[in-house]
C-alpha cells in the first residue's frame, strides 16, 4: 500500500496523468465522440468526411472517453487525487498546529533584540503563536486540501449522477397529456437505472410566450396539471430559469415551441387520416421556414409545411394562423395550398382540411440525485483555489543565538514573491526601518 501511495503521489506521476487526460480531451474535441452524438449527427459526419471518419473509427478515436485505457487513466488520476488529498490534509493539520518542518532552507537573520520584542512585533502584524512558532494566514494551509477534496467530491458525485440520472424529453400540445409509461421523444438514463417513468400524468393546459421587438423569444412558460393515479390534481407553472419540482422530478421549460396544426388528409379512395404537424415558431412574422416530411402523404412525395402566426403577417402572437402546404415530387413542386382554421384545399390528389391549431412546446423531465454534493464540490474547489493562491501562510520561528535572537522565516508558497516581507522584517530589527 505504501509503495502504491508513493507511486501515485510522485510528482511525475501526477503530472503525467494530468497530461494524459488533457491529451485525451484535446483529441476528443477534434473527433466527434459517438456516445455524445445522435444517430443523425454520426450519419452527417460520415457523409461530410467519409475517409477521415472511417479512419478515426478504425483507430478508436470516436470512443476515447469510453475506452478502457481512458478509464484506467481516470482511475489512476482518482487514486492519485485520493492519496494527495489525504497527504495534504495531514500536512495542513500539522502545519496549522505550528509544527515546523525542516527550517534549514528558510530565510533567516540574527538580531540583538530580545525575542520578546520580536514577538510583540509579530503579534501586532497578525502572527499568532502556535506551538512555539508564529503563523500568519494559517487558513491558507487548507487551500490545497480543499482543492483536492473538491475535485474528488466532484468526480465521485459526477460519476454517481451519470450512472443514476434519468431524463426524458417530451413535446406536448395544449390540452394533450403525457401519461406514465408513454414513450419519450428522447430519453437518457444511467447504466444503473431504468428509463424515467413519471409518477403522475402531466397535461399542458396552456403555453405563454412573449417576444422582444426584434422577435427573439423574451419569455416562455407552460401551465401544467399533474394528475396522480388517485386522481389528485396539482397545477403548476414552469418557465425558463424557473424550474419546477414535482415528486422528485425537475421539469425544465425548453426554448422549443410553436404551433401544432391538426390536418385531416383524405386520399383519392376516401381514406382519411388526422395528422398533427408540429412546426417550430417563426423567426419573424413574415419569415417562416419549411419543415419537411419525407414520404408524406405517400412514398416518393415530400410534404413541406410552414406557417404564418398571423395570416396578415403582422405578429407572432397570432389568433388566426395560416398554414402553407407544399408537395414535392422528385424535387419539384407539384402543388401548394394556404389554409386557415377550417380551410380546405386539394393538393396533388389529396384533400387537406385544417381542423385546428394549438400551441406546443418541449419539456424536459429529470430525476437526478447528488446535485447538492456536486455544488458542494464546486464550492470546495472555489474556496480551495482562493485560499491557495490568495491566502499564503507565513511562518516565523525565533531561536536564541549567540548575538541575541535568530529569526527564521518563510512563506508557504511563492517564496520569492514574498521575500520583500522578510526584508522589511530584517530592516525593522536591524534598526533601518520603522516598526510601522
Amino acid at each position: 500500500m505504501q509503495s502504491l501511495r508513493r507511486l501515485f503521489t510522485k510528482r511525475s506521476t501526477i503530472l503525467s496523468l494530468i497530461i494524459l487526460i488533457l491529451a485525451a480531451m484535446l483529441l476528443a474535441s477534434f473527433v466527434p465522440q459517438t456516445f455524445l452524438m445522435s444517430k443523425e449527427g454520426i450519419k452527417k459526419w460520415h457523409s461530410d468526411y467519409p475517409a477521415w471518419s472511417l479512419t478515426a473509427e478504425k483507430m478508436g478515436l470516436t470512443s476515447i472517453y469510453t475506452h478502457p485505457l481512458f478509464a484506467l487513466v481516470l482511475l489512476g488520476a482518482s487514486a492519485s487525487l485520493a492519496f494527495s488529498s489525504l497527504d495534504s490534509v495531514r500536512r495542513a493539520v500539522k502545519l496549522s498546529r505550528g509544527t515546523v518542518e525542516d527550517a534549514t532552507e528558510w530565510l533567516r537573520f540574527e538580531t540583538g533584540r530580545p525575542a520578546a520584542d520580536i514577538e510583540v512585533y509579530l503579534r501586532k502584524h497578525r502572527y499568532s503563536s502556535r506551538n512555539g512558532s508564529f503563523v500568519r494566514y494559517a487558513p491558507g494551509y487548507w487551500g490545497a486540501p480543499m482543492l483536492h477534496i473538491g475535485f474528488m467530491v466532484v468526480i465521485i458525485v459526477s460519476l454517481w449522477m451519470a450512472l443514476t440520472q434519468r431524463r426524458g424529453l417530451v413535446s406536448l400540445v395544449e390540452g394533450e397529456a403525457f401519461v406514465p409509461g408513454q414513450a419519450w421523444l428522447a430519453s437518457e438514463e444511467g447504466l444503473l437505472v431504468k428509463p424515467l417513468i413519471l409518477d403522475d400524468a402531466v397535461r399542458l393546459d396552456g403555453l405563454d410566450f412573449e417576444f422582444w421587438p426584434s422577435y427573439a423569444t423574451k419569455r416562455i412558460g407552460s401551465h401544467l396539471t399533474f394528475v396522480s393515479s388517485r386522481g389528485d390534481v396539482t397545477r403548476r407553472t414552469v418557465e425558463v430559469n424557473s424550474v419546477l419540482m414535482h415528486k422528485g422530478v425537475r421539469v425544465y421549460q425548453m426554448l422549443d415551441f410553436g404551433h401544432a396544426f391538426a390536418v385531416q388528409v383524405v386520399d383519392s379512395s376516401g381514406k382519411s387520416n388526422l395528422t398533427h404537424l408540429l412546426i417550430h415558431r417563426q423567426s419573424a412574422p413574415d419569415k417562416p421556414e419549411y419543415v419537411t416530411y419525407e414520404d408524406f402523404p405517400e412514398k416518393g412525395r415530400t410534404l413541406k409545411a410552414k406557417y404564418f402566426a398571423e395570416a396578415d403577417r403582422s405578429s407572432l402572437n397570432g389568433k388566426n394562423p395560416e398554414l402553407v402546404l407544399r408537395i414535392d415530387e422528385k424535387g419539384k413542386e407539384v402543388g401548394q395550398a394556404l389554409l386557415t382554421i377550417g380551410g380546405k384545399a386539394d393538393l396533388a390528389g389529396y384533400h387537406f382540411r385544417l381542423e385546428g391549431v394549438r400551441r406546443w412546446t418541449n419539456l424536459t423531465f429529470v430525476r437526478i440525485t447528488g446535485v447538492g454534493g456536486l455544488f458542494c464540490g464546486f464550492a470546495l474547489i472555489c474556496l480551495g483555489c482562493v485560499l491557495h493562491f490568495f491566502v499564503v501562510p507565513r511562518v516565523a520561528v525565533l531561536q536564541p543565538s549567540p548575538g541575541g535572537t535568530e529569526l527564521c522565516w518563510r512563506a508557504e508558497r511563492f517564496e520569492d514573491f514574498f521575500k520583500e516581507e522578510f526584508d522589511t522584517l530584517r530592516l525593522v530589527f536591524e534598526g533601518q526601518a520603522k516598526d510601522g
Binding site: M25, S158, S214, K218, F378, F414, F417
Partner: protein, 275 residues
C-alpha cells in the same frame, strides 16, 4: 447607420484615440526615461476608460442588457475590464506598471476589433435571466485581465532576455517579472476556474445539465487544466525563466481560442447567442 449606432461607434473611436495616445506616451516615457510622460499616459488611459465606460453604459441602456451578447459588446467590455484589472493590480503591485507596454496596445486592439463588428441590438434570451450568468461572465472577464498582465510580464521577460537595450533597465528585474508572471497566472487560474463552475451552475438551472461537452465548455476546461499544468511545473518542477514564459504564452493563446473562437463554432450552444 442610425444615430444610436453612430454615437456608439463614435465614442468607441474616441476611446481608441485616447488609448493609442496613452500607448505612445507610455512607451515613449519608458523608453526615453520621461517620467512625466509615463505618468501622463496613465491619466490618458484613465480618461479613455471614462469615455469607454460611458459608451458601454450608453449602449447598455439602449439594448436593455449588459455587454455580453454581441461580439462587439463582449470585446469592448473585455477591453475595459483588462484595463481596469491592470489599474487595480498596479495599485497593489506598483512593480507591474511597465506591463502597460503590452496591456495598453492589447486594450486598444480589442476595442478597434469591437468596432468592426456590427454592434446590432441583440435581445436577451430567456436563459440569460439569472445571476449565475453574470457571475460566469464577470469571473471570465477578471480572469482575462489577470492573464493579460501575466502575458505582459512574460513577454517583457523574454524581450529582456533576448536583447538588453538601455531602456530595458527601467523594466523590473527579470527575476521579479518571472515571479509576478507566475503569481498572476495563479490569479487567472482561480478566476477562470470560478467562471467555469459558475457556468456549470447556470447550465444546470437553465437546461438541466451542468456539463454537455459543448466545445466552449470543453475548451475552457482544457485551458484551465493547461494552466494547472503550468502552475504544477512551476511549483514542483522548478520551471522558471524562458521556458516558463514560453509555456505561459502557449497557455494564453489557448485561452484566447477558448474564449473567442470556440463560441463561434456551429456545434456550440454559445454560437446561437454570438452570431
Amino acid at each position: 447607420m442610425d444615430s444610436q449606432t453612430a454615437i456608439n461607434v463614435g465614442m468607441h473611436w474616441g476611446a481608441v484615440f485616447l488609448y493609442v495616445l496613452a500607448t505612445i506616451t507610455n512607451v515613449a516615457g519608458i523608453v526615453f526615461r520621461k517620467d512625466k510622460w509615463e505618468r501622463g499616459s496613465l491619466w490618458l488611459a484613465g480618461l479613455g476608460m471614462a469615455v469607454h465606460a460611458a459608451v458601454i453604459i450608453y449602449w447598455w441602456r439602449i439594448v436593455g442588457h449588459g455587454p455580453y451578447m454581441a461580439p462587439s459588446e463582449v470585446l469592448s467590455s473585455d477591453a475595459w475590464m483588462v484595463l481596469a484589472a491592470y489599474f487595480v493590480f498596479a495599485r497593489f503591485f506598483p512593480v507591474i506598471r511597465p506591463a502597460s507596454i503590452v496591456v495598453f496596445p492589447a486594450v486598444f486592439t480589442m476595442v478597434a476589433l469591437a468596432i468592426f463588428y456590427n454592434p446590432g441590438i441583440r435581445s436577451l434570451p430567456p436563459t440569460f435571466g439569472t445571476v449565475w450568468l453574470i457571475l460566469h461572465i464577470l469571473f471570465y472577464k477578471i480572469s482575462l485581465g489577470t492573464l493579460v498582465v501575466a502575458l505582459a510580464l512574460s513577454v517583457l521577460f523574454l524581450l529582456r532576455s533576448v536583447r538588453e537595450a538601455a531602456w530595458m533597465q527601467r523594466l523590473p528585474d527579470p527575476a521579479v517579472m518571472d515571479i509576478y508572471a507566475y503569481r498572476f497566472a495563479g490569479f487567472g487560474f482561480v478566476f477562470w476556474g470560478i467562471g467555469v463552475l459558475a457556468g456549470s451552475v447556470w447550465a444546470y438551472y437553465s437546461w438541466g445539465r451542468y456539463w454537455n461537452w459543448d466545445p466552449v465548455e470543453t475548451w475552457s476546461l482544457i485551458t484551465w487544466i493547461l494552466f494547472g499544468i503550468y502552475l504544477h511545473l512551476r511549483r514542483f518542477f522548478g520551471l522558471k525563466g524562458k521556458p516558463a514564459a514560453w509555456f505561459f504564452i502557449g497557455c494564453f493563446v489557448m485561452a484566447i481560442v477558448a474564449y473567442y473562437v470556440t463560441s463561434h463554432m456551429g456545434t456550440s450552444i454559445h454560437s446561437e447567442y454570438f452570431k
